[in-house]
Symmetry: C2
Subunit: 632 residues, 2 copies
Amino acid sequence: MMLSAGNGVPSFTPRVVLELASDTKEEAITWLLSRIRDTQYNGGTELLVEQLGPGADAQEKENPNMFLVGATWQRLLSGAEDLGLFKEFNDGSMRAFTCANKYNFKDFKGDGDSFLSTAECQYIIKHELDTLRAKDETHVPGLSRVKLYPGKSVIRRLLSKGILIQVFPLHEKEELKRLSFAWYKKVKLSFQPLEDIRHYYGEGQALYFGFLEYFTFALVPMALIGVPYYLFDWEDYDKYVIFASFNLVWCTVILELWKRCSSSLAYRWGTLSRKKAFEEPRPGFHGVLGFNPVTGRQEPLYPNAKRQLRVYLVSLPFVLLCLYLSLYVMMIYFLMEGWALSVHDAEPTFWTGILCFIPSVLYAVVIEIMNLIYRYAAEFLTEWENHRLESSYQNHLVLKVLVDMVLLRQSLATLLITSQILNQLMEAFLPYWLQRRRNKKMVRKIHKGKTLEDQELPLANQVRLEADMSTYLGTFDDYLELFLLFGYVSLFSCVYPLAAVLVVLNNITEVYSDAFKMCRVFKRPFSDPAANIGVWQLAFEAMSVIAVVTNCSLIGMSPQVKAYFPDSDMQLILWTVAIEHGLLAFKFILTFLIPDVPKHIQINLSRLEFESREALKKKKILEASEVTKAAQ
Amino acid sequence: MMLSAGNGVPSFTPRVVLELASDTKEEAITWLLSRIRDTQYNGGTELLVEQLGPGADAQEKENPNMFLVGATWQRLLSGAEDLGLFKEFNDGSMRAFTCANKYNFKDFKGDGDSFLSTAECQYIIKHELDTLRAKDETHVPGLSRVKLYPGKSVIRRLLSKGILIQVFPLHEKEELKRLSFAWYKKVKLSFQPLEDIRHYYGEGQALYFGFLEYFTFALVPMALIGVPYYLFDWEDYDKYVIFASFNLVWCTVILELWKRCSSSLAYRWGTLSRKKAFEEPRPGFHGVLGFNPVTGRQEPLYPNAKRQLRVYLVSLPFVLLCLYLSLYVMMIYFLMEGWALSVHDAEPTFWTGILCFIPSVLYAVVIEIMNLIYRYAAEFLTEWENHRLESSYQNHLVLKVLVDMVLLRQSLATLLITSQILNQLMEAFLPYWLQRRRNKKMVRKIHKGKTLEDQELPLANQVRLEADMSTYLGTFDDYLELFLLFGYVSLFSCVYPLAAVLVVLNNITEVYSDAFKMCRVFKRPFSDPAANIGVWQLAFEAMSVIAVVTNCSLIGMSPQVKAYFPDSDMQLILWTVAIEHGLLAFKFILTFLIPDVPKHIQINLSRLEFESREALKKKKILEASEVTKAAQ
């Protein structure tokens, strides 16, 4: 899609949009553009950048400071080399791309213009923009309040000061149409087009959808076995124990197999062995200016001890207090329910029947409110802890949110599984509907009924339409949803045999609503070259350990099991504890026995390493023998 | 120590000795020597090798086929580069040594003749000898029964066919004298000279002694707290629980801190970030000749599935059967003891008093015999499983031996702690005494009273003396001993408060006996560039998990605790289980919270990586700008 100049469209393929505040001074804009266009040798990025012209039906209120960023193919390829992107080699293995060797990579043709996916191109441009650093400027020209120091990322400083409103990648209308057709518009039963998703949204998104699909299929056996338990109302001790044990082992096995599956995907997508670049501080990080001990660059430093104090003396007590509070609320709920039931049992009328529901409804409402407040507090605290890296911020946030979720929601399991469908509607269709309303307003403004799907939509209007879309905030909430579902299935599997069935049904619709959300509701997100699902793998594993404890105690408490040990409760408990310890030990041994990376990928990885070592050695010996020959 | 030629001594510093069978054909010897001497370009090793001349008082029965191997400094340095040895750089960081950059390394002076430690030189020579590969020979010349194929390690084949009797590194008399003086001959209390040990014996040995020392100091707090429990016979419930809880947390903390300590040592010794070369199959490995999927070289292949079948269908059932048997024997022991006690109680005489001891003595004897048989069987089975790598052989062997140890020896705890001292005598002084007797015989033969310590001993006699010394079989048994001691301390800490004291005392003498053993009894072992204590870390951690279970149940069973819950055993058990789960969870969280590598080492490692990436990038940009200039 090489666009010709004129009609406000740039002379190159636009990939990323920079939106500056409409009142930004001309001097600052000129400086920024020249810095972006400058050669790498001079500390610039060598990217192409042009101002977006007015739309076909320009409005007065339109922000004129929209800039399109692109790059030549040569620049993109050298950026891919800098980033150490892995691509498929001629022999089928994955290797770090190098320009010197480019013709030996599979699918490299001509100038290499279809070699990189659009997600990769956008990721490269984002990386290059992020690493555009101040040289000797003390502030942005024309904006003395935006301080700079040598080595500071210009884009990050402009973002944190609100000069740069947003940076987002553009949708590719043709590709999006093809993707959405293959993904959620087809009615026939099929796997998701993971390769296309990865091509368009990057590895992080594709891994999420891969995990969603894997998880759904993995639950099918549990669902199939659960159905007869529900239908025939089996309350036999042996059958219960068999079902629960199967579930516990199955949960461990599917989590272990997912690691293999995920590393296969990550290998094929080249993110498995890609070395991560040195991670920059997150935009919100603040501290006293100093020198980073690793890079030697100037950047804010914040003492680790201070952060630890904040974590252990403020956040941890707060989380524990909230836990205590939530357990207290749960106790009140149980008391209320007991009271309501006793009233109903004493003199059952229609009104006492309704009374029985009130505690549950009240509890559900209170829980949702407490959750909202807690989630807000968790985000605030994690921000306040001032983590240097995005990844450690995420880990601390996940930890706080999970502690809450597991304990608060456990008594609401069935209630929530049914509410899940409502949740999906809320999450995908409410923003869509809001978006539609906003679009309509805009459409009314530009007097034409054009949407993103319209092939005729001019670029200027498309960019402005996308700039107005909601921002996708990452996979956090999507994984959290799956995590809660996994909790319902594993924690209480022996009590609700139907849980797996409901989760499978939910996941099938989840695929469609999430796909719809990604393609139609949100701005396109930047790709995230993930190699695995990160901290969530750990969270799921921790949940499966807790599940062993809950299931064993639930079975131990069931009257059928108690009947087996009529004489002594003690023997019952000892047996339960022994079986629980056995299951836990078995789980750990299993985790240990199943290798995380499939054998053939391990072989490929070691071959790559072996070859590079041998090449180095051979080169050295040849050089030495040449030196010897020259000396003779 | 550059030796002058003449009197059977070589013209270079001899480092390693090759002893060939005395009836080896001349043709084979000539071929082997020429292959060793050949240039690397031609597939040789470029090492120096000479036959050892007859001793000062040559005996007729002496084996003439002893060869001394050495290398020029240049060759050793290029070998160090091949191996990727890490050395200290001028700026204090550790970097992979390269010849091109040699003058920037700390302590590199002149030709670099004191730059590498003797252990490193010997390790390099061993590695070069091991990687001497057959070219197109189908068998060793003159020995048609010793088959070869392209790529087969010549030395390993000669060893497995018994042509090469042994390969061992030589002791360095001066250095050994200094080391042994600093290590065990000084009487004053001080730390072990770990740097010197590492310099002389390599990283694997130094890590063992470092661990031994660390372990001893780490147990001191437990010993100090344990003493009053023993002296004042405290049997108070609260004090018991406090002692046991302290022990459990302490065990976790010391194991976690050891990881940090070990990575500090490994960083300083340059083994932490050194990449391991591709591991060769162990000498005993056999299979059908095929192509290794990683290296593409010809080597024996053995299907993994077949190995798994052997492990799961033969070894595993065998181990389980042995466990069952040992539990059965333990039951018999308890029955016998119960019977003896009842006889003694009924009518106590002197003879019934002795009768009470008989079951323990019998049990101890039976256990020792069963252990010996089991150990032999475990080695046989692990050999039969035909593991390709030495490391996986070791892991499977450790696993088998540990399973046995933990269960068999637990009831013998106190008995064995006292027998430990006997063990040390057996292990260090018995071989020494045997050695002395053998030496005396030899000395009598050569009509002179010379030993290894004698500075006047000619090289030829020294080599022959060392060739006759026992071979040190690695750190397996040393770690096993420490592991058992750790088991006594952690598993039953609440019952035997004095265990830690005994272990500390034992360890102090252990240092001396092990040091003596290394310096005087055994052949010098080849250095092993280990970065940690390997599978033993895992074994110790597993033991500390089991310790939580045993301690909680022991406390739960104690009459003092039972008195707290007079009405219901059930409540007692529930509390015990709850506390046990809490402790286990706390342990795992603690393991997670304490980083394995100290912060400053992490920073050093990332700086190294960051610098190499930046250098690569800068080089690329410079090249690109030069191309641009040339084009203009």
